[in-house]
């Protein structure tokens, strides 16, 4: 029953012009970066940096707007003999799968076309996990706020915090506590930011320590590549399930 509602929500979203546009922009971007012609791992890193910027932003903004626009439809579905959990799940999966497909086509095709097989696969994987994470966060911020403008505002603030402010804070901490053994602390801090986790997951694979930054280097030193990747992947999964669990709990109690 779940999968059937999901199917139609997915159909509907895949016809959405915005998702098609998103996919096209990613594709043009990836092709041009590769075409400009640096060596392959540098091109992958450049694409990665853009993805870490764009994917969270698009998922947060589009996810939040989509949730508010679907409110009347969700309300309609809730008057049918179906429980709230199924509808929430269908809405979430519908949105994150369609955004992931947009991403897969937009970035996956160019990367595979030029034959970056392994690093390309990790790049796509990172992007898809980030899509699932930030769609979950978008749902959380929509469920918290009844008002659409506040919800979108909160999403923008979360994005600003995770992409810009967080890095600044980590830098400050490293700068001031340079003399102390803070490696472990930095690892814990990093797990608090899914974007950083995505970067580490990717960079440990590509293995360019120079581009890894402090947190990445610490991760590698501490865990070695494989375990480091496994740990960041686990933390990223937590970043999907925690916001989802909280928002589902709130969604069950929402008065429509």
């Amino acid at each position: 029953m779940n999968t059937k509602i999901l199917k139609y929500i997915l159909f509907e979203l895949l016809r959405n012009k915005f998702i098609i546009l998103y996919s096209l922009i990613l594709m043009v971007m990836s092709f041009s970066i590769i075409y400009i012609g640096q060596d392959s791992s540098k091109a992958v890193i450049t694409i990665l940096n853009l993805i870490l910027f764009i994917v969270p932003l698009i998922c947060l903004i589009f996810g939040t707007i989509h949730f508010y626009n679907s409110k009347e439809f969700i309300q309609f579905l809730l008057t049918q003999p179906v429980n709230r959990k199924s509808i929430f799940r269908a809405e979430y999966l519908g949105l994150s799968i369609s955004l992931s497909l947009g991403f897969l086509i937009g970035v996956g095709i160019p990367v595979m076309f030029y034959g970056f097989l392994l690093s390309g696969m990790y790049l796509v994987l990172t992007g898809i996990i980030l899509t699932f994470i930030f769609t979950a966060i978008a749902f959380l911020s929509s469920v918290i706020n009844k008002d659409k403008v506040k919800g979108i505002g909160l999403s923008i603030i979360i994005w600003l915090y995770l992409t810009i402010i967080f890095d600044g804070l980590v830098f400050l901490i490293i700068y001031f506590f340079n003399d102390y053994p803070i490696d472990k602390f930095i690892i814990i801090l990093t797990s608090l930011n899914p974007i950083d986790l995505g970067r580490i997951l990717m960079l440990l694979q590509v293995d360019i320590s120079a581009l890894m930054g402090f947190t990445g280097a610490t991760f590698q030193k501490f865990f070695g590549s494989f375990i480091g990747m496994a740990i960041s992947a686990v933390f990223m999964l937590l970043w999907i399930f925690l916001p989802l669990a909280v928002s589902l709990r709130m969604f069950k109690r929402t008065n429509f």
Partner: protein, 233 residues
């Protein structure tokens, strides 16, 4: 059919429902009336499970509706304004609803035919006017032949012809021994359709009487009669 006991609900500091007790039997049309903000929508939405009341219980066909959803199989609902995803086809909406009900067969396609929904089956909701969307919503409410119909301002955005189709459908359903609850502002329409008036004011029921008893043979218009009874209470 529907039994409401000591229902209380507030949003933040503002009280929406103030201890509602109401019992509604089948085979009648109940008009739920009252000014804006009197709690009509909250009451209807509580019956549907869209609003979760803080206190009190609601029984539909003797089942407590708290943490239950299957009872909604027996309820058809038509909201005041329905909005569907732009890129969804009308046909697909019907498929979703069929799938939710595990492929149970439509039993009552009368409105589907009279509102000529089949003609727009392949259109996207983004292409439809508000009136058409409302007609789709109406036909869905009646589609599975539910025992209870909850209609929130059903004729508000319908054209005159559709309004008449809707009215006769409501009367037919009543004669099929169903319970129809209508929330409406249009007194003349309720005079025509309803058997009973439930009047809400500031979250409390101020009046719950049969139209016959309200008028009491006085030959007044319904609006005037309601005002007289409200004043004398």
């Amino acid at each position: 059919m529907i039994e409401i006991k000591e229902l209380k609900m507030s949003y933040g500091k503002s009280r929406a429902l103030n201890g509602i007790n109401l019992s509604l039997e089948k085979g009648q049309v109940v008009a739920l009336m009252g000014p804006n903000g009197s709690g009509k929508s909250t009451l209807l939405k509580s019956i549907l499970g869209l609003v979760i009341p803080q206190k009190g219980k609601i029984f539909v066909n003797e089942t407590d509706i708290a943490n239950n959803y299957l009872y909604r199989t027996n309820i058809g609902y038509m909201p005041q304004i329905a909005n569907y995803p732009e890129n969804l086809k009308v046909k697909e909406l019907f498929n979703i609803i069929r799938d939710i009900r595990n492929g149970s067969k439509e039993k009552d396609e009368e409105l589907l035919e009279k509102f000529r929904i089949f003609e727009i089956y392949d259109k996207y909701f983004g292409q439809l006017s508000g009136g058409y969307k409302q007609r789709v919503t109406a036909s869905i409410a009646f589609l599975f032949d539910p025992d209870i119909l909850i209609l929130d301002e059903p004729t508000a955005s319908l054209d005159p012809l559709s309004t008449e189709i809707m009215k006769s459908k409501i009367i037919d359903s009543k004669n099929e021994n169903k319970l129809i609850i209508i929330s409406s502002h249009i007194i003349s329409e309720m005079e025509e359709l309803a058997d009973r008036i439930v009047y809400l004011l500031e979250g409390s029921i101020r009046l719950n009487m049969n139209i016959k008893d309200i008028k009491n043979g006085s030959g007044e218009r319904l609006g005037k009669a309601i005002a007289r009874v409200l004043q004398s209470n």
